[in-house]
Symmetry: C3
Subunit: 287 residues, 3 copies
Amino acid sequence: MDAPPPIVLTTDFGLNDPYVGIMKGVILNINPRAVIADLTHQVQPQNLRQAAFVLGSSFRFFPSNSIHVAVVDPGVGTERRAILLLTPEGRFLAPDNGVLSQVLSNRLESPTDRPGLVPIPGGCTVYQLTNPQYWLHPMSNTFHGRDIFAPVAAHLSLGVSPDAIGSPVSGLVWLPGSMPSYQSGYIQGEVIYIDHFGNLITNIPGQQLAGFSKLQVQIKGRRITRLSQTFHDGDMRDNPNLLALIGSHGHLEIAVRDGSAAITLGAGPGEPVLVYTDEGRMTKDER
Amino acid sequence: MDAPPPIVLTTDFGLNDPYVGIMKGVILNINPRAVIADLTHQVQPQNLRQAAFVLGSSFRFFPSNSIHVAVVDPGVGTERRAILLLTPEGRFLAPDNGVLSQVLSNRLESPTDRPGLVPIPGGCTVYQLTNPQYWLHPMSNTFHGRDIFAPVAAHLSLGVSPDAIGSPVSGLVWLPGSMPSYQSGYIQGEVIYIDHFGNLITNIPGQQLAGFSKLQVQIKGRRITRLSQTFHDGDMRDNPNLLALIGSHGHLEIAVRDGSAAITLGAGPGEPVLVYTDEGRMTKDER
Amino acid sequence: MDAPPPIVLTTDFGLNDPYVGIMKGVILNINPRAVIADLTHQVQPQNLRQAAFVLGSSFRFFPSNSIHVAVVDPGVGTERRAILLLTPEGRFLAPDNGVLSQVLSNRLESPTDRPGLVPIPGGCTVYQLTNPQYWLHPMSNTFHGRDIFAPVAAHLSLGVSPDAIGSPVSGLVWLPGSMPSYQSGYIQGEVIYIDHFGNLITNIPGQQLAGFSKLQVQIKGRRITRLSQTFHDGDMRDNPNLLALIGSHGHLEIAVRDGSAAITLGAGPGEPVLVYTDEGRMTKDER
């Protein structure tokens, strides 16, 4: 007997309340052999962009038959659709509010920077969940994680076909992630995520920095004059402990050796980060 | 081979310490195929009423063969009994301190508002855990979650009979939940739980409000003049973002659209909530 | 078919970020039937001594075929080795930075109080993880939990031999735990861990106190004149609610009945604790 596909939960429900546990109860009621994993439940309440980033930078590490359930759902009970997105790298159940945007971003030919409905990229399919036969009843207007997404995930894990649970649709909501702007000689980005260690993860993809033999990172008036390889490998000039590296998300990350960059710099999401790639523009004494 | 019944853990142990993990180790040592789910471990330390509410409003979403383990146990090591409660909707292992009261409340003919021993309702059975053969040894006086409840749950999940692990008893400890008082023309309740989103969950059951075409909710001097259907559907008069609805617990809930009612109102557990159901008693300008 | 051995995770990653979830995804990708349990992810960031204590006082409650993965790894990406320690009571994957010291402490003939390389005790084997075939690629320098430890754990759970994943080595890094000093007539110890309830766990092993009919515990100028059996069983003289007992870790623990000793005493890790075992040295009025 094949192992069941993992059901992976990402929510903003936190861990104090029984909400996540209840979703697991609903799943186990339908599929007692379900394998359930938590990605995180600590997305900032109703922060769709954060949820999209967390899911988008994580889903590739799960099996490609995984059923991801992403419930950050400020519009629960309103007209917003509930959808199933099928991709070659995973299946995704979520409200159609943009929370799946970073799952799709690599697949869109030219991601727009305006929110709105986008066509479904090649190789993917989207279904609107329309068949109440697979939902929990009586159904609430306030907890579709329990009443729609969890039971549909459990039925999918048992092999129920997408065609049974809904109808194909031709577009889904796109919420653009924060994108750096590329100027002549420098890249202007920003901090988009702070992790538990106080590392500042920026929106600047590591591959954009690959070709440069010299670069200079500026944040909060501090300069970092090279990319480190590890958290131990600080810039040994005037910032002995402040460092920049390409982190495990694949993005430029600012860190403090044995400390918290968020606290040391007093920086949070939205903090501007400049990367000078043109020697002429770098601060003189650092060239 | 049948799937094993889920073992569902509810404690006040928090997630910083290894205590919950240790209980899982003990369970897996006895039943390596056990399916373990967490309801929550963030019950406020030793808050039996909160634990009873959380468990009572959640257990029905789990399979009816589930083995719930509820360890909020200020009297651990004292004379308080350790019990197994069998109901048609689930099995429950817990200290006999009232933590199972809300599991039973619908089954009691006339729940009393005084704490004490109550007879076991029809269809249910209670065993006192008396057989040390199913416990972990050497046994501590301070961690029966590890030494008694976890191993007994694991043995039950393997099919060990309740008669083997203990002896039937005729009553268990009842801890009354907070109950609203029904007056002529109004209901006086209170906030009993604040969730991660800052929603204020009251002790007023939704079905008590079903029959009224008009009602008025008062909390902290603010008035809400209708029940909303969703968190987006605010009262559009003088409280554009404050709303009242029947939440996913089935209780009257006070919320703030895209915000925290707990912070906005400065309200916490125990905060009085009045619901006027008689037009004559409502504030005039809101009729 | 045998049940797979549990993979037990202990990290300082916290629960806000997707890091722990990603490790589970990597494991499930390799072994879809893996059984994964969390010990805790809330070790204080990069606190190796705390991680060593938590793991050392917990691992015996898990099955002896468990694969423990301990990732508290301030030196990730540097020259520090990644190791697999095999013991009769469990298998342990970790950076070779001392985090496994308390797993070994009972096995060392004379544990030294200086950090450094120690020979491997009898009955145990240590492998350095050297075979990149069992790692995730492309590999980062900053997240070996994802790229080395999780995939190697998954392969071990499928039965891959230690000889395939690495090469035996002859020593590993020892990080001494805090040890009490035994003087004539008294023991000088300290608080090493504060749990969620505010209980102060000391470094004084319970068995050291077993033989004494009278003893006196001093902390923060307060005296406790006997050992309690339960958290309810306070010292009934001038500290009605302050109590000392041998806690579930097997160590002397200071607690406050129905409260937090950490808050009541204003004490934290490192706080000195004295135990007088010689009547002549005890405070007179408490004899």
